[in-house]
């Protein structure tokens, strides 16, 4: 398969993207049933609410403890991995990460990379970068393979092709893969992918993977998967490169036990995945398979900005289970592409501003009714609505205002009109006299209520004040009582 143009959905056009997605009834229908299915699966995976509560509390405590020691743990991880024979690289930006990875592949004149699922590699647009240098990067996770073939990006961090029907996939395989008859039989479709990809594992010079947990204590990279493609990518080619965000480090090996359980149960309602792959080094002398070289790339890309602020640091607790998107009424209506970011849904709304700057993600923090369904299910108890409100505040904060930890793109959503409106609102609502006058005039002038009210009357009849305010009704009744 040759390099495909990637369809980009920049998050700056979020509202337009969302409108287009909402109009796509096929997408709406399949998303809704998929999310309903995943929600039901999750809840059946946690039959005991006491256990769920305790496990979430434990997961939160582990992640917070690990983050509290992040710099030390990263150093310990590096030291242990190095002792195990793994080379550790650090990248502040996507460009640096791409250059490191390209350098490693180029050093052995590699031309084919097989990739296990890695959202961080999406974040840095690795495929694009490698292909520009003549290196083919082939996605091997079935969902990723499908979206890559379609020239798209994943719409969900766990289920990359959740937006596609089997008929669409059947058509895609038939059109793009030589000698492939049209079939909607899922087993047959998977067999087609399996056969194509097994040849790729065999030929590939390098395998790339993400990391779910990087254990500082033992220098172990843990990968969670069902398909076995992650094991293939990290076992068969001679060079294995893993890439992960700096926040993924955990302190102790036993930390992974509750986190892994929370991850699989929250994500897809499975008690466990088929494979939990723990890699602690390259092939040792005497061993007969496994990569001869293993590298880990640690990527910052804005994470240290979130880390600098104690409230926003909680964003980094995330274990990328996707439960917040499965339960989100916004995500389940617009899907992942509309966000225009690597990470969609609630987690995307709170992490993307750090990766891309508020100026590029202006509409994301407000794209939530703050219903709290995300925070209610988050396995590590990230208070997502609280993070959203904070990001709203920072995007409304005038760009010039000095603060302790300015966020990139501070003030991106600030508008003089809105600021003035809130100031006017404050003048009215913070002063009883003015408020009384306002209520009186609004009710008396109710006939003059404008028939179109920005945003509101698109979906509703106009908001019309009552003939009298509650304040007035209460006063009148008190007066009546005094009389009688």
């Amino acid at each position: 398969m040759n390099s495909q143009p990637v369809t980009l959905y920049p998050s700056r056009q979020f509202k337009d993207n969302a409108r287009a997605a909402l109009a796509d009834t096929e997408l709406r229908g399949s998303l809704r049933s998929a999310m309903d299915f995943l929600m039901a699966k999750r809840s059946s995976a946690f039959p005991d609410t006491d256990e769920l509560d305790a496990l979430r509390t434990l997961g939160e405590a582990i992640r917070q403890r690990c983050l509290s020691r992040l710099p030390e743990l990263l150093e310990q991880l590096e030291e242990r991995l190095t002792a195990n024979g793994v080379t550790v690289h650090w990248a502040e930006t996507p460009a640096q990460a791409n250059a490191i990875i390209h350098g490693l592949v180029a050093a052995r004149n590699g031309t084919l990379m097989v990739k296990g699922k890695s959202m961080v590699s999406e974040e840095i647009e690795l495929n694009h970068h490698l292909e520009a240098h003549g290196i083919q990067a082939l996605e091997s996770d079935m969902g990723e393979y499908i979206v890559q073939m379609a020239g798209e990006k994943p719409t969900h961090i766990i289920m990359p092709a959740i937006h596609k029907t089997k008929a669409q996939i059947a058509r895609l395989f038939h059109e793009k893969l030589p000698d492939t008859p049209y079939t909607e039989d899922v087993d047959a479709l998977i067999r087609i992918g399996r056969n194509a990809l097994r040849e790729a594992y065999l030929q590939a010079d390098v395998g790339l993977s993400g990391v779910n947990f990087a254990v500082a204590e033992t220098g172990t990279l843990c990968l969670v998967e069902n398909e076995g493609n992650g094991r293939m990518c990290t076992t068969v080619p001679d060079l294995h490169i893993a890439i992960t965000g700096i926040e993924k480090v955990v302190e102790k090996l036993e930390d992974v036990v509750p986190l892994y359980s929370l991850l699989t149960r929250s994500a897809i309602g499975q008690p466990i995945t088929t494979y939990f792959n723990m890699i602690s080094g390259p092939r040792r002398p005497g061993e007969k398979d496994g990569p001869r070289e293993v590298h880990l790339v640690l990527l910052d890309n804005g994470r240290s900005q979130a880390y600098a602020d104690q409230q926003l640091r909680k964003t980094l607790q995330c274990i990328r289970c996707g439960a917040c998107m499965n339960h989100c009424p916004v995500y389940s209506r617009i899907g992942g592409h509309a966000y225009g970011t690597t990470y969609p849904g609630p987690i995307g709304e709170i992490i993307s501003p750090h990766l891309l700057g508020l100026e590029n993600t202006r509409d994301l923090p407000t794209a939530s009714s703050l219903c709290g369904a995300c925070g209610e299910v988050c396995p590590v108890r990230i208070p997502i609505p609280e993070m959203l409100m904070r990001l709203r505040e920072e995007s409304q904060r005038p760009a010039g205002e000095a603060v302790d930890h300015p966020l990139r793109g501070q003030g991106a959503a600030a508008s003089t009109t809105e600021a003035l409106a809130w100031r006017a609102w404050r003048r009215v609502y913070a002063s009883p006299g003015t408020y009384r006058l306002f209520g009186w005039s609004a009710t008396r002038l109710r006939a003059l209520t404008p028939p179109t009210q920005a945003g509101w009357t698109q979906n509703h009849v106009p908001m019309t004040p009552a003939p009298k305010t509650l304040h007035e009704l209460v006063r009148e009744r008190e007066a009546r009582r005094k009389e009688s």
Binding site: R392, R423, R426, G455
Partner: protein, 248 residues
């Protein structure tokens, strides 16, 4: 919980301006149950609209103007889950590190959502005098997830002998109001309220109730625009008062 003799009613700005009858009904109902209701005339708003829009300073100034209104140590009853959530859970955060912090925490502790108050503080056993009907209940997300009172409205409705409570599809899902969300993202909010309205219509309910003014305005505003069915929602206070014969 002991039965208080007096309560404050914090009416909320939406009820004040757009559905004052719901506020009056809440007062009447509480008075019928022998509670003296104090309605501070200087009240305006909890500050939530500005707070959730990223303007905490304006929100704090408005909230600050409300702090002197509840001098007695009676419960502060709020006929709206989301405003209750603001007072109870967000005020302490909003005033963290401010000189008023301690007072705010004490006030927050006295805040009770209306349905919670009737059920858990008064253990009210309503005597249903109305005709048989079917009712759906929409619980606001704040009531459900911040105040943890999503079962109280159900329980109250279930205590009415002639009322059958019907469950609607995706009942726990947000109606799409979200304050300024419905204005900033009308396409998405519109899809959400459309689904909510359809689910309520398809439930077979004759009317629906909610204890949240924002949700009520949102869903009723949508139903009125569509004019597809006569289904409309009522505030829980009005519904309960009506069922127990207190509405003249």
């Amino acid at each position: 919980m002991s039965r208080p003799s007096d309560v404050y009613l914090f009416g909320t700005c939406l009820v004040d301006l757009f559905m004052p009858d719901a506020g009056m009904d809440a007062i009447t109902l509480l008075e019928t149950l022998g509670i003296r209701v104090h309605f501070p005339q200087a009240q305006s708003c909890c500050g939530q609209p500005a707070y959730t829009s990223g303007h905490p300073r304006e929100a704090r100034d408005v909230a600050r103007s409300q702090l002197d209104l509840f001098p007695g140590d009676w419960p502060i009853v709020v006929p709206s889950g989301s405003c209750g959530g603001m007072l109870k859970h967000h005020w302490p955060t909003l005033f963290a590190g401010e000189p008023e912090q301690e007072r705010v925490v004490a006030i927050a502790a006295r805040v009770v959502e209306f349905s919670d108050f009737l059920l858990n503080h008064l253990d009210w056993q309503p005597v249903d005098t109305g005709p048989a009907t079917r009712v759906a209940v929409h619980t606001s997300c704040s009531a459900r997830r911040e105040m943890n009172v999503h079962t109280t409205s159900w329980a109250l409705v279930d205590r009415l002998a002639n009322v059958t409570r019907v469950v609607h599809d995706h009942e726990s899902e947000c109606c799409g109001f979200g304050g300024t969300f419905s204005i900033k993202h009308p396409d998405i909010a519109g899809a959400m309220v459309t689904d909510k309205a359809r689910a309520l219509e398809d439930s077979g309910a004759i009317e629906f109730v909610t204890a949240d003014a924002g949700c009520l305005m949102n869903i009723n505003g949508k139903l009125a625009l569509d004019k597809a069915t006569p289904l409309r929602g009522k505030h829980l206070a009005s519904f309960l008062l009506e069922r127990t014969g207190g509405k003249s």
